[in-house]
Symmetry: none
Subunit: 156 residues, 2 copies
DNA sequence: CCCGCCCGCTTGCAATTGCAAGCAAGCCGC
DNA sequence: GCGGCTTGCTTGCAATTGCAAGCGGGCGGG
């Protein structure tokens, strides 16, 4: 696996963790992995197995597939727009009429966004749900420190 | 990972390999893994990484996702309504309002289907494509031997 | 008999993965 | 100042992963 992918995986996990306002130890605990290992993963020093990615994803409340894609072990649904199209078409719980209807709604929204130039440019593009940290802590201070570390990490 | 899953993974790979009429060594070579390791995988003695599964799947000309599902590192798609939910929430081209709207439509369809008991239950099977073996060999004999081994392997 | 080829599997080992124990630094209250 | 707590990271180690070298067996041809 190219270290480039592993690097982006770690950055991605760190980003999601911060979005969720978890400290490294908090996420490690919730995910059931050791905090040093999670640190190494975030810094791209280790390449975690799919099981570990699954655990991390679950703790971050994102889909495991998202992390698999980042790790390069799953193909991206290439093209964000086609991804949802494919998902709609592949959903076994919908019949053909409903699929087409959903697609039509989706296309209408895309068109609307193109015309208004509006989209959810929120950083939570991956559907991250900011979770409350498990324990109270000096959140403001932790964020400040985390930002400084993030700059350092980007160098790695 | 429960050894049960690993066991079924190995059995599945062996089955697909036989369908493709590959010997263990042939598949190992095409997949780019060592033949002893492939043997161990098939017998459930080792739990391969996603990368190895990817290589094996490619050699067998099946989707990697199929093997991921067998290995338990990917959720099976069928009946997995949350997958489309996740896709909607993950789509970066939609804003929050549109995401919620699409989800509402989706939920309405699911409810409709539950009441009518109707859905397009087209099950896209794993689509195994038997491939021709890379080299000619005593296929009949190899199959006979392989069957005997298969029985032994099932005991393990 | 021999040899060569094929088959699947055994075994020992190096590299990798994931962890436990612990470090250093920052912040806060006394 | 101190101690207690939090933070992210370092380090050594055990277990696991994947491989190379090789085994034993079957088959066919000389």
């Amino acid at each position: 696996m190219a270290s480039l992918n592993v690097g982006s995986l770690g950055e991605y996990i760190r980003e999601q963790r911060r979005n969720a306002q978890y400290s490294l130890r908090q996420l490690a605990e919730v995910a059931g992995v050791s905090n040093p290992y999670l640190s190494q993963i975030e810094r791209g020093l280790r390449k975690p197995s799919a099981e570990i990615l699954q655990q991390i994803a679950k703790a971050l409340r994102i889909s495991a597939e998202t992390l698999y894609v980042q790790a390069g072990i799953l193909e991206e649904r290439d093209g964000d727009a086609p991804a949802l199209r494919a998902a709609i078409l592949a959903d076994p719980l919908l019949n053909e009429r409903q699929k087409q209807a959903l697609l039509a709604v989706y296309e209408a929204f895309l068109k609307e966004n193109r015309e208004t130039g509006e989209s959810s440019g929120a950083a939570a593009a991956t559907g991250t749900v900011p979770a409350t940290p498990p324990a109270g802590s000096a959140d403001a201070d932790a964020d400040a420190d985390a930002d400084a570390d993030a700059d350092t990490g980007a160098t790695g």
